[in-house]
Symmetry: C2
Subunit: 236 residues, 2 copies
């Protein structure tokens, strides 16, 4: 008898944005033996570089399928990420950031729940993080737990006692710890795009909150920053 | 002093499908003093008659605005309402009906939550009913309560103690009671479309589960059925 546990072959849905965090989540789910379907959202982002990155990352991870769901969050307005009349903040702000998209993770997880129900996957993974994104209500453990409870009341699976789990492997990790985890799993972070205002080719601005967090993460992990920056990016 | 309570002027989001139930919910919310924004979903239904009906009903109710959100539930497959390879059942079935769309109410409520957050509405109304739709997991009081809990953890409003409420005025009513309520509020049910396979002009088939429930409801309420049926409809 081999004492090692046989690898599981359970299926999972992984929300994949093309950024650093979700690429790490996908690598973790694959390493844990899940066969993954990935889901990205075209929600009126200002650039498509992160969707291109998501497709590349999914392909490289050999997922069962990668689905892109068109959704119209711009109908809500009120966010710098979807509303062109608001500018992306250049400095960290107190409280809930202007880049918060209303009900975004709730909507994304709801679509993942629909796909999980149809494919009979029982695990949904999302790269939320309560350390760096403490200002986002829908990145907190309480929110995730409440969504999981709701999901099990909403679906055939939950109704029949076959529980759905929302996995958040990054929720308590610092950016440096996330990067160290990903590197140990072979993630190529040069393929990921985190910048709120990346060029079409995926080059980062180096100045937005997301760029700052990411750069600090590589420094904390003690590794070189592989991010592709715009030629005119000011890194400071 | 006038002893009557002054009418409230709070804003609400009302999910409006164009069917009998949601038209009644809208009338109830208006009668209770809410200024309403209505939201309908174009999710790959087989016919657009119910969307046309939703727009007419919203216009007649003088809502603040009526929004139609395009969403792609067909990407999930697995339901007779969105998958052309499955047929609509002609007889009542046990358990969860084949017409159940995966995670549908979860997704619809999530969009309503996003709109509520942006417009600062604190009330969301949905016409779910646990009597006639006991086979649908996401029509039960437990599901609605769990969604409300999640919604208050997901949003700025809930985080700041300004609770969001999910209102379900029909949840414990029979179809006959819903119709009696609506008639007392002036709802014109000839304008609503419930049929799963209505014609483009909104004429009902008379045979599907939705038609049967609706016809029985008018009979139970003791009023004439104002539904516009197809010329070849077999009512029996």
């Amino acid at each position: 008898m081999n004492e090692q546990t046989a690898p599981t072959t359970r299926e999972a849905i992984v929300l994949l944005s093309g950024g650093l965090d979700s690429a790490t989540v996908l690598a973790k789910a694959c390493a844990d033996g899940f066969q993954c379907r990935t889901m990205a959202f075209n929600y009126g982002q200002r650039h498509c570089a992160e969707l291109d990155a998501a497709a590349r990352i999914a392909n490289h991870a050999n997922v069962l399928e990668h689905r892109v769901v068109d959704i119209d969050l711009a109908v809500f307005g009120g966010s710098a990420l979807t509303d062109d009349t608001l500018s992306v903040p250049q400095a960290p702000s107190e409280g809930i950031p202007i880049t918060y998209v209303p009900a975004r993770n709730t909507i994304f997880l709801s679509y993942a729940l629909g796909l999980a129900e149809v494919t009979r996957a029982r695990d949904i993974f999302i790269g939320v993080n309560a350390v760096d994104y403490s200002g986002y209500p829908d990145c907190r453990p309480d929110f995730v737990a409440a969504f999981e409870t709701m999901a099990n009341l909403a679906t055939k699976a939950g109704t029949e006692g076959d529980s759905i789990r929302i996995g958040t492997p990054l929720i308590n990790l610092s950016k440096g710890e996330i990067i160290s985890l990903g590197l140990s799993l072979g993630v190529d972070y040069s393929q990921t795009v985190s910048c709120y205002q990346a060029s079409d080719a995926g080059e980062a601005c180096g100045q937005c909150d997301a760029c700052r967090l990411r750069r600090d993460g590589f420094a904390a992990a003690g590794v070189a920053d592989p991010t592709r920056y715009r030629q005119d990016a000011m890194l400071g």
